[in-house]
């Protein structure tokens, strides 16, 4: 049973990753291109030959290959995230959340999007190439991971709190939301702010890139949640449908 769920998560994660990749390619790539063009223009006077993060001029990977690599990245991301999701789902099933398989799958995907994507994004939003100091990449990555962990911990606290409050659905929801927001808002306020947008970088391009990036994750989690929920519902129906079909 666990194996079935894991395989389902891996495959549907891969599919959702490729769907998100198509969205990112159509909506996000033009913004990445614009940002790289600005980066190259800024680097050109200083010396064309070598700057840290070569995006072109026969660097490690050429631009067309990087564009194809986008699908590899979102596909592998979907595979890994889908697999982890399925294993966590296997543990949650029948213990917390909606009773129906599809309902739980969809609800869990929605919660995961908020906890793992939206919470870190609000503090450390996505940046296009040319925004961000290469020197600080390790620190920024660590802060980002801390924010993801805060989102996950806040979710666990919210679920535990909701289970303690037994007074009707509204009180449970209010308690869960409050228990979620307290650690999240505290982290938003306490963790250091990263502001590395270069002087004169177009605000519209930055905004459009960030929307495209958040959209990519939204497409992934919506597609994955719907596919995973649908597949679980379908599988749950099979044992009862089979004898009828055989008769």
């Amino acid at each position: 049973m666990v194996r079935t769920l894991l395989v389902r998560g891996l495959l549907l994660g891969l599919v959702a990753g490729l769907i998100a990749g198509a969205f990112a390619f159509a909506v996000g790539e033009p913004r990445v291109e614009s940002a790289i063009a600005l980066e190259e223009a800024a680097a050109a006077p200083a010396g064309h030959a070598d700057h840290d993060h070569d995006h072109d001029h026969g660097a490690v990977v050429s631009r067309p290959v990087q564009k194809a690599g986008l699908f590899l990245a979102t596909g592998l991301y979907g595979l890994a995230v889908g697999g982890i999701f399925a294993l966590v789902y296997a543990g949650l099933r029948g213990r917390v959340g909606p009773r129906s398989e599809g309902g739980l799958g969809l609800a869990a995907a929605g919660v995961a999007f908020v906890a793992v994507i939206l919470v870190p994004f609000m503090k450390y939003p996505a940046n296009p190439p040319a925004v961000g100091d290469p020197e600080t990449i390790t620190g920024r990555t660590l802060l980002y991971v801390v924010m993801v962990l805060v989102g996950l911990a806040a979710t666990a606290i919210a679920v535990a709190t909701a289970r303690q409050v037994g007074a009707g659905p509204w009180a449970r929801w209010a308690a869960a939301v409050a228990a979620f927001l307290v650690p999240v808002v505290a982290a938003w306020l306490l963790l250091p702010t990263v502001d590395e947008v270069p002087e004169g970088f177009p605000a519209t391009l930055l905004w459009e890139f960030r929307l495209a990036s958040l959209g990519t994750q939204l497409v992934f989690w919506a597609a994955f949640g719907a596919l995973f929920g649908w597949a679980c519902d379908r599988a749950a129906r099979v044992p009862k449908a089979a004898p009828v079909a055989a008769a």
Partner: protein, 63 residues
């Protein structure tokens, strides 16, 4: 929505080996896609550059 069987809980002892083995392996894959900056190996640098646009658009920190 009729004919749906109620989900049975999977006993935790049966789930544990899957979680202990599967989650670290899958986290490693996610790390290589999203976070690695060539710290692990030269191949890491190549993977980083190859999946560069994906990293930016998936929203994780990059250069």
């Amino acid at each position: 929505m009729s004919g749906l069987s109620t989900p049975s809980t999977l006993p935790l002892p049966r789930l544990r080996p899957w979680l202990l083995l599967g989650v670290p392996v899958l986290l490693l894959v996610a790390y290589l896609v999203l976070m690695d900056n060539g710290a692990v190996s030269q191949a890491g640098t190549y993977l980083h550059e190859l999946m560069h646009d994906g990293r930016h658009l998936l929203g994780v920190p990059c250069h």
